[in-house]
């Protein structure tokens, strides 16, 4: 038994195993993706007094709430209509109607954000018709807005669900666009973003640039709520009035590409001007964000921003030597990966393995063209649709210096004996990281701090006496 165990452990680290592992076709092991309704729930939390409502099994709601609470260390409210076996036979209408009635009585939301989980999707529940019947039966007031999203877990991933719910919320809450009622605001959509500090950073930058804006959705006060000694069910979010006026936006700016296509298409169909940029991670991508906002305001970029940018460049030059030439593996969501890889390339870091479980063809093209255009991207391979067990094989057969990704990467990093810098979602084994932005120029400084200090900690922890030095 003992020898057998030993042989196999070594075998897991071989090229032979890697090939076998990559030859698998159906089995998925440790995927870096969750399912649609989780993203829908996150989206829904970012609207003022919005109550997320899962039409499906109650276990789904429990899982989404727990997962989000573990990442943010915050309360996450959501109800479900607790469909059970009889709903499988008769459909979920009676649960939905009773659920709406109770949820409204208990929690007096300004909007209910209803999305589906597997059960309702497989049996083909028509939530739109059910909602009509609920209002007909006066289970809830006729004027209580209920946004709808079909979010089957067997299609796409959490970022798809975010997108679908966002479209549903705008569709439900916004009045039709009227050319004579266009407001002066830039509606900024962060995308599936689990850093409350990123949202605050967007707002700060928009304010500094004197741009009238609405952040849509905005979970920053919901998922980073102050402790004032009382629990607030609805501590923030995009104001309903600004949701009502969303289709009259002067323009929409999307700060993520791959978590927003459905909403963008919908807005374009409504003749709302839409601009999309890469998630502003790293200097170049942040510059694009600043330029997009400046284009919107028609004003010069304030000097304050130029100075702020300069500080981040200063941090980059100060510490380039610790990242230049270092080899990295990364995994995560498409938008975050594009940003973090772009930042590494700016620093002279060399991404080697990039694993994206919820990749799309467009993302693949964008990532590969970015890598091809940089001298530091030449050794990188994007593994689209692969999982963290594939990643483990890559790390042990083609070693790198650091892994970047969420907490689920800790086993692979440990097996490869390299540090994991936690960027992404979920982060369940470190505190406060969502309170530090990774976007904007301040995000550049934060990422340098995390990455470089982790390398230096490693160096101190592993160096022998003669090489244990005061300066690094």
């Amino acid at each position: 038994m003992e020898t057998c165990t030993k042989v196999t452990k070594e075998w897991l680290n071989t090229q032979e195993y890697r090939e076998k592992n990559f030859a698998r076709e159906k089995l998925v092991i440790n995927p870096a993706k969750a399912c649609q309704p989780l993203g829908a729930l996150l989206c829904a939390l970012g609207i003022e007094a919005s109550l997320p409502f899962v039409h499906g099994s109650q276990g789904c709601a429990a899982y989404f709430r727990s997962t989000l609470s573990r990442h943010y260390r915050e309360p996450v409210a959501a109800v479900s209509d607790s469909m059970t076996e009889d709903s499988a036979v008769f459909g979920g209408q009676s649960n939905l109607i009773e659920g709406l009635k109770n949820a409204n009585a208990l929690y007096s939301p300004k909007v209910i954000a209803m999305f589906t989980s597997c059960m309702a999707e497989v049996i083909g529940d028509d939530i739109n018709a059910y909602l009509g019947n609920a209002k007909e039966q006066e289970a809830i007031p006729k004027d209580l807005p209920v946004a709808l999203a079909n979010t089957p877990s067997f299609k796409g991933s959490h970022i798809t669900g975010y997108d679908t719910m966002l479209k549903g919320l705008i569709e439900c809450l916004a009045t039709p666009r009227q050319e004579d009622k266009i407001n002066n605001r830039l509606y900024v959509v962060p995308g599936f973003d689990t850093y409350t500090a990123n949202l605050r950073e967007y707002k700060r930058l928009l304010k500094v640039m004197d741009a009238p804006y609405t952040l849509l959705p905005d979970q920053s006060d919901v998922l980073d709520a102050p402790n004032l000694g009382t629990y607030e069910l609805y501590p923030g979010g995009t104001p309903i009035t600004e949701m009502n006026d969303a289709l009259n936006a002067a323009s929409f700016l999307f700060a993520q590409t791959y978590s927003t296509p459905t909403t963008r298409k919908y807005l374009a169909g409504m003749e709302v001007p839409v601009e999309v940029i890469s998630m502003p991670i790293g200097v170049e991508k942040t510059d694009k964000f600043i330029e997009a906002v400046a284009k919107f305001t028609g004003k010069e970029v304030p000097e304050e921003i130029t100075i702020e940018r300069g500080r981040s460049i200063d941090a980059m030059t100060d510490s380039h030597q610790y990242i230049h030439g270092k080899k990295f593996a990364l995994f995560g969501d498409p938008d975050v990966l594009i940003g973090v890889v772009s930042f590494l390339l700016e620093m002279g870091g060399e991404p080697v393995h990039i694993v994206c479980t919820n990749s799309t063809p467009l993302f693949k093209k964008a990532m590969e063209s970015m890598l091809a255009s940089s001298p530091y991207g030449q050794t990188a391979t994007l593994y689209a649709g692969k999982d963290l067990w594939h990643l483990r094989s890559l790390l042990v057969t083609e070693p790198v210096d650091m892994l970047i990704g969420d907490s689920h990467g800790k086993w692979a990093a440990r097996d490869a004996n390299i540090p994991l810098v936690r960027i992404g979602f979920p982060i369940t084994d470190r505190v406060n990281l969502h309170r530090y932005p990774i976007v904007g120029y301040s995000g550049v400084i934060n990422m340098i701090t995390m990455i470089v200090n982790t390398f230096l900690e490693e160096k101190d922890r592993t160096s022998t006496d003669p090489y244990f030095e005061m300066m690094r």
Binding site: T8, S80, D81, L106, C118, P152, A225, Y231
Partner: protein, 477 residues
């Protein structure tokens, strides 16, 4: 307040809180809440019933009970979350059921294996895919002792036949392949998932292991999932008593332990709710006796040690008494340290399988009082076991809704709330000390003599943390 006044006050609180519900929901919820009042014969708590739609329940589903609780901790089996990616993803690596073994070799606990259903699988069925997956599992993890297939909602709805796939594949790979029909829509909570998981052990594994002589002191622990190392702490005591723990179900357990669960002199049940089915089955079929025990806090540990030892001979009883004596002083020291800091503090609990009753004694050892308690998915017999352990006037709530628990806490003003991750931050925002009592809040173990000092420290840390004092800004009124 006198006991009678307390009872009346709390009954009043219940009525006030229920006012928020529409009539039908109110009628339903009232049956699930009671105040312990020995003079009131009708003060029973309804349980194991459907959750009211639209309220915020903490309950999970059958899959959570079967995969998350019972099967997930079995370390040398590859557990396939069969269906879309979510269920497996959300139950991956967050139950703290520790396991000792080489990860990826003979320990698969920290993994998520999923068939990641796509739309085409819903349309055409997933049986063929499952066959291929099982083949791939064996190729990549040759030391796995078996494969379990835990079905998620769509599998049952589209009419897949995982039982016949399991039969075919089991013959092909010459290992047990265990279908577990734990679709989340089955039943009304995690509870049915436990039962289904127990039945799967009964039908596919039990009695099918390699022959083994039963030693005179061989015992099994049933219903300890080794949260934060709990089972190891319990095992330590039992082995010091001279007993030999040959099986643990299912914390840090192996497939063989499940096969040979009946080959012991006695089974000890900790979490009755999740594993009573199989314990009863082993008794009925193989004559293996079982008793319940409670290893939370020195008083209950002592009672349980004596109860367990009484099932054996003088040799064991003698050793048992020595164990009690050995730990008396160190436990007293823990009490001397923490009791003065915790004396008279009150607690409200809302947890799962056994803790709402089992852990009461541990709080009492620290001079604390449980003034409210309830279960997510208990059955009547759990409440029957619980109520005698509680003081008069204790508020009892079954499948409590988020809003009820918030309101009860506001009115009863406990010094500590013990519940789960979904509740934790609600109460901390209220400025109330809180401990997660499913996961031990990333601490533990809490079982056994090893666990009690950690439990005491953690409760003290929560209640007496200086951080609570900073909530109010000096300039606010």
């Amino acid at each position: 307040m006198s006991t009678k006044e307390t009872i009346e006050f709390r009954k009043q609180v219940v009525e006030e809180v229920l006012e928020v519900y529409p009539e039908k929901a109110k009628k339903n919820r009232r049956q699930h809440i009671a105040v312990k009042d020995s003079e009131c014969a009708s003060c029973a708590v309804k349980s194991n019933a459907k959750t009211v739609p639209g309220i915020m329940t903490a309950r999970g589903c059958a899959y959570a009970g079967a995969k998350g609780v019972v099967w997930g901790p079995v370390k040398d089996v590859v557990h396939i979350s069969h269906g879309p990616v979510g269920c497996g993803y959300y139950s991956w690596g967050n139950r703290r059921n520790l396991a000792d073994g080489e990860i990826g070799v003979d320990n698969f606990v920290p993994f998520l294996f999923t068939s990641d259903f796509q739309e085409s699988d819903i349309i055409y069925g997933g049986d063929k895919k499952l066959e291929k997956i099982i083949d791939e599992v064996v190729g990549l993890f040759p030391n796995a002792k078996g494969v379990s297939v835990l079905s998620e909602c769509p599998v049952g709805l589209i009419g897949d036949d995982i039982e016949s796939v399991a039969r075919r594949m089991s013959e092909k790979i010459e290992l047990p392949v265990i279908p577990v029909r734990c679709e989340g829509f089955r039943g009304i909570s995690q509870s049915l998932g436990h039962h289904i998981a127990n039945d799967a052990i009964r039908d596919h594994l039990l009695g099918k292991g390699p022959a083994r002589e039963i030693g005179p002191y061989d015992i099994g622990i049933i219903g300890d999932y080794n949260i934060g190392g709990d089972a190891w702490a319990s095992k330590k005591i039992l082995e010091e008593m001279g007993l030999k723990v040959v099986n643990i179900w299912t914390g840090d357990s192996t497939l063989e332990m499940l096969q040979n669960g009946h080959l012991v002199k006695l089974n000890l049940i900790h979490c009755f709710r999740s594993m009573n089915y199989i314990a009863k089955h082993m008794e009925e079929t193989y004559g293996t006796p079982w008793i319940e025990f409670n290893f939370f806090g020195p008083t209950k540990i002592k009672e349980s040690i004596l109860k367990i030892a009484a099932q054996f001979d003088d040799y064991i009883m003698e050793k048992a008494l020595k164990v009690i004596e050995k730990y008396a002083a160190p436990m007293q020291k823990v009490i001397d340290t923490y009791r003065p800091r915790l004396e008279g503090k009150s607690v409200m609990l809302y947890v799962g399988g056994l803790r709402p009753r089992h852990i009461v004694g541990a709080y009492e050892d620290l001079g604390m009082e449980v003034i409210g308690t309830g279960y997510e998915f208990a059955h009547n017999e759990d409440y029957e076991k619980t109520i005698p352990a509680l003081k008069e006037g204790t508020l009892i709530y079954d499948d409590v809704t988020a809003l009820e628990l918030e309101e009860f806490v506001k009115k009863l003003k406990p010094d500590l709330v013990g519940s789960g991750i979904k509740e934790k931050y609600v109460f901390e925002k209220m400025g109330l000390p809180f401990r997660q009592m499913h996961s031990w809040d990333y601490s533990g173990p809490y079982h056994g003599y090893e666990g009690f000092p950690i439990f005491a420290r953690d409760m003290d840390m929560a209640i007496n943390s200086p951080t609570w004092k900073s909530i109010k800004a000096p300039w606010t009124k």
